[in-house]
């Protein structure tokens, strides 16, 4: 059980130790090589000195349990783990590129850049949450950016897997986390709330956009608890050129009650990528933190703490899907658009925290420069947007659950699929053209989407009544 003995050139289970990459409080990270592995790898070894914080051991065990079960581009690929005798270690992919820690020298950053980064982080978090894990230590040094731009989450030492024993929970009275970023529920010892990661992301975005940490860097438990009753100074007060939508989103992340935040990381990512669709509330225009006496009352009423505990009990992941409606406005019959609306309405009713994105693809013959204005000088975009809104009106959805999108593309199916992947859509509803002659000529968009989308796809098709099936195609045209 020793980490000190390691040095460059040593060989453990076939891994040759190279350079020391990082000496942290809990662990040391070495670059390693293995004859059978050609990609860059590293070895993480816990610091197990005499009298060391037992958290170092337990958090290392948690990471050993959790990392091997995670897959995909948003986590380092797991290679191997070593038992505590003779030497505890984890070997994993060495992610190219830098952690986001270096960026804090250049704060504040432009809002657009922070929003884009925030969206990428939220996408990575959504992927992690979908794999049953809450990270619980989201901060710049635990986020890395791959050369292709995707965010990788590292360090699962404080994480919670909802299907595995939680060794951290029983072990420590004090909440574990990083003081500036910790969500109120985490401060209270609640470890199974995925939206705690959205709070931490809100802190990061606030910090990156203003250069100031919303809750400072408290050093005591009392200081940590302050965030339960004391709200931060609104970012626009620090930097007036921050747009209201950005303040809206950041302050929503920083809501004390988890239920008041976005229901999922995917929905937050969605809003960050579509600022024009963000519904503004009083958060957007708030000019200063709540008064001293309001905060004081909150502190002593205790209601806040109850609220946090209550909110954190609700389970969220599957109940807040993003539903995409792909509407073909060109030749669809009224019956089909009605059918689509009924299907969508049913899905929305079933999941009250869901949201709907209505999408239409303007099909281009080829890529052209001046394409938004047609021969009559009418703006096709505006026209289509109007049509989408008319279609959605009978659904009576509140603004915050509904957005509209017009894409332009040569290949509509590819554009829809790209949209689905980028926005982590959970369910696509799409109509199928009844006219099979046209379908053969143009290729079926719905079939392509259904075949390739990484989520549920519902195809709505009109039944052809009053004719036998063999004759249907001829009769429709």
């Amino acid at each position: 059980m020793k980490a000190q003995g390691l040095e460059q050139g040593a060989v453990i289970d076939g891994y040759t130790i190279g350079q020391r990459l990082h000496q942290g409080g809990m662990a040391t990270i070495w670059s390693v090589t293995h004859p059978d592995i050609s990609s860059p790898i590293l070895m993480k070894v816990p610091n197990l000195f005499e009298g060391e914080d037992p958290a170092a051991i337990v958090s290392f065990e948690m990471e050993q349990m959790i990392l091997p079960r995670l897959v995909g581009p948003h986590v380092p690929h797991f290679h191997a783990a070593g038992d505590f005798q003779p030497q505890a270690y984890i070997v994993m992919e060495r992610v190219e590129g830098q952690s986001l820690l270096g960026m804090i020298n250049d704060l504040p950053l432009p809002v657009d850049q922070v929003a884009a980064l925030g969206a990428d982080i939220a996408t990575a978090l959504d992927d992690l949450h979908g794999q049953h894990v809450v990270h619980l230590d989201v901060k710049p040094s635990n986020l890395m950016r791959r050369p292709d731009g995707r965010i990788v989450l590292v360090d699962f030492g404080l994480s919670r897997h909802d299907q595995l024993p939680d060794l951290m929970a029983e072990e420590f009275r004090l909440p574990y986390g990083t003081a500036p970023y910790m969500a109120p529920e985490q401060v209270l010892g609640i470890r199974n709330e995925p939206r705690a990661d959205l709070f931490a992301l809100g802190v990061l975005m606030y910090f990156f956009a203003t250069g100031t940490r919303p809750f400072g860097d408290p050093q005591s438990l009392n200081g940590l608890k302050r965030r339960i009753w004391r709200d931060p100074v609104p970012p626009r007060t620090l930097r007036p050129d921050i747009p209201p939508w950005f303040q809206e989103l950041v302050l929503r992340c920083l809501e004390v009650d988890p239920d008041a935040r976005h229901p999922t990381a995917a929905q937050l990512a969605f809003d960050l990528r579509h600022p024009e669709g963000v519904r503004l509330t009083q958060r957007a225009t708030k000019k200063k933190a709540d008064g001293f006496f309001t905060a004081l009352r909150r502190r002593f009423a205790g209601e806040r703490v109850r609220q946090v505990r209550r909110g954190a009990q609700s389970n969220y992941i599957s109940s807040a899907p993003i539903i995409l409606l792909a509407l073909d406005l060109s030749g669809a019959s009224d019956d089909l658009t009605d059918g689509l609306r009924q299907t969508v309405a049913r899905l929305l009713r079933a999941a009250p925290a869901s949201r709907l994105a209505c999408l239409n693809v303007l099909k281009l013959a080829r890529l052209a420069i001046d394409r938004s204005v047609d021969d009559l000088g009418q703006n096709k975009h505006a026209q289509r947007l109007g049509a989408l809104k008319r279609w959605a009106a009978p659904l009576n959805l509140s603004e915050d659950r509904l957005t509209y999108h017009i894409l332009e593309a040569v290949d509509p199916a590819a554009a829809i699929l790209d949209y689905v992947a980028r926005n982590r859509v959970d369910h696509v509803v799409i109509g199928a053209r009844a006219d099979s002659t046209l379908r053969t000529l143009l290729g079926s968009v719905s079939a392509q989407v259904a075949a390739h989308a990484p989520c549920t796809v519902t195809i709505v098709r009109n039944r052809a009544f009053g004719q036998d099936e063999g004759a249907a195609s001829a009769a429709v045209s």
Binding site: E61, Q85, L164
Partner: protein, 246 residues
């Protein structure tokens, strides 16, 4: 090595057969049977025959409180259990009874202890239902890991670095790591009479190389098992509870 762990079969032929069939496809090296083969269910003779057969082929088995009651007394049992034992005794022949009576209370191999109930005093058949009883068991036994049944609800207890005990309810089909440097107490679910609200038969597979345990739930013909209980004139409750797993 992969060990199939089965506890609390309770003369439920359909459930036991379903688990054995499931396990047959799981590359099992060894069967460990954790007691209470009889009592409650309608097929004690069949189940004991199969257990004897498995043991002849290398399986290991410990005795449960219902098995002990066949040749002993039923004092301390609730009236329904005592009624069932009386009926069961008449269904078992001499060989069955001698086999059950001759089973050990516990088996200790490679630092792993297999026992029907609490390990501190096996003949007492105490229940492990919370972190306190688990802590007592882990503190007093020398084993690195204890595997038992008796409660009919799966749970995993572990002693952490600071000697605190944590409790985890395993999720079906998700392997739980049991690292060697900690000590563990694993309570198996029940094959023949689950009580955790899930009526499917429950058993576990321990992988001693990967140091992991996985719990499986296996659907079986509950109706057939329940019909036989009613036909045998055993208390109705023993049949109806199978459908709800309580």
């Amino acid at each position: 090595m992969r060990l199939a762990l089965m506890a609390d079969i309770h003369a439920n032929r359909e459930a036991f057969d379903a688990c054995l069939e499931h396990a047959a496809g799981q590359r099992i090296d060894q069967y460990m049977l954790l007691g209470d083969y009889v009592g409650y269910g309608a097929d004690p003779g069949y189940v004991v025959d199969r257990i004897m057969d498995l043991c002849a082929k290398g399986a290991d088995a410990v005795i449960g409180n219902h098995d002990a009651a066949i040749s002993g007394d039923t004092r301390g049992m609730n009236p329904i259990a005592a009624t069932a034992i009386g009926w069961t005794r008449d269904q078992l022949n001499q060989t069955h009874q001698e086999f059950l009576g001759g089973l050990p209370y516990s088996i200790d191999t490679d630092g792993r202890l297999f026992v029907h109930a609490e390990a501190t005093d096996p003949p007492r058949f105490g229940y492990i239902t919370n972190t306190e009883s688990a802590a007592r068991d882990l503190h007093e036994s020398q084993a690195n890991a204890v595997f038992c049944g008796h409660v009919h609800m799966p749970a995993i207890y572990g002693i952490t670095a600071t000697e605190k005990v944590m409790r985890h309810v395993p999720v079906t089909g998700v392997p739980v790591p049991l690292p060697r440097h900690r000590r563990w107490l694993v309570v198996l679910g029940s094959v023949g009479q689950p009580r955790d609200g899930n009526p499917d038969a429950c058993y576990g597979i321990l992988d001693t190389v990967k140091c992991e345990i996985i719990f499986h739930r296996v659907a079986y013909d509950i109706e057939a098992a329940a019909q036989k209980i009613l036909a045998a004139g055993l208390p109705d409750f023993l049949a109806t509870r199978l459908f709800i797993g309580r």
